[in-house]
Symmetry: C2
């Protein structure tokens, strides 16, 4: 029973459609605001089909988190690990990758932030997984920040742990605000304003 060729298209198709529609609905209505019926209706399937692919709604949630981790986070780590040229080049790479990924996978990224706000701190079983993924993200950022300090490019007086948290906070907040106002914003210009603030701040130098 080979799956790779034309034979097993149906199942793969349905599975990816479930995930795609779930992500879209999660980003619009949150986890508890999205019902299985919403998802199956959007994917054009029935409840039976959904539960053939997923044991429970929580397994779908886990799959979604996996998706974010492998596609965004691992992708980001892979995109920067071989980069030569020091901190500045790496920072540029991180910003570019994050912006491009967020732009082309808005619903996945918005869902991640929305669901983390919704599910962390409420005693939900998924909380541990959320935190481990955030931790992985943070460790990645801390390593880069410390490289920047060693090169004397990143200000040494800024605490690395705080700075990594601030980076993640910026990305989360920016994504949410951009997503809410994306009809009235030029994303490219918005990002370059952000980059300017991040590197050199909002205040004029000789004041």
């Amino acid at each position: 029973m080979q799956q790779s060729e034309a034979s097993n298209i149906q199942g793969e198709n349905t599975l990816s459609r479930i995930i795609k529609e779930a992500i879209r609905l999660f980003s619009a209505k949150g986890y508890h605001g999205t019902s299985i019926d919403d998802i199956t209706q959007a994917a054009g399937i029935t409840k039976g089909a959904f539960y053939w692919h997923f044991k429970s709604k929580e397994v779908l949630l886990r799959k979604f988190l996996e998706e974010w981790e492998t596609r965004f986070l691992d992708g980001l780590i892979r995109a920067t690990e071989g980069v030569k040229g020091g901190f500045l080049v790496k920072l540029q790479k991180v910003n570019r990758y994050t912006a491009a990924f967020g732009f082309y996978n808005r619903e996945l990224c918005v869902s991640f932030t929305t669901l983390s706000a919704e599910l962390i701190g409420g005693g939900h079983a998924i909380e541990k997984y959320f935190r481990s993924v955030y931790g992985k993200y943070q460790n990645f950022l801390i390593k880069i920040i410390n490289e920047g300090k060693r090169e004397n490019v990143f200000k040494k007086e800024l605490d690395s742990i705080h700075a990594s948290l601030i980076f993640m906070a910026f990305h989360d907040g920016l994504l949410l605000q951009w997503s809410m106002n994306r009809d009235n914003i030029d994303g490219e210009a918005f990002l370059s304003t952000y980059r300017a603030i991040l590197t050199d701040g909002i205040l004029v130098r000789d004041r």
Copy 2:
């Protein structure tokens, strides 16, 4: 069953307890993740009492938004409107007020961000109200930013609309990250790192 020492009226007490517990639960589990039964149980009242004070769950949600608008936003506007000393002093005031308010009213602020992520973009009836409040916040920030530009303190090359959105994004994101990690973070130090980045950026000057 006595509720308090003689003086206070029963109704006031119950009403404020409903709101307080609702905010706490919203911040932990989101809007759809919090049931009326959760709220009444936490407040130690019955369903009848809840529906005596609120016509529906959505009216409670409106009341919550009003709470955020009058207590945080109007408070912020009031705290800065009479301030003399120009942009720098005003910015300090805004940052201090926001930080202090967020610290002492964490659940109210976290709920606002969480619920906006959960409810904006999903076609919910409350969306308009959310957007009007965000719009009011943004207009306030734009005015201050433009003052800073006029004084030649805020960099003129940064777009005011983008910058205001970025400010709100920073506040939202920072609040969420701090809330998630508040057990392992020194809030004061975290904030001073943020302020340093905001004003002068992350990169060393002479590079």
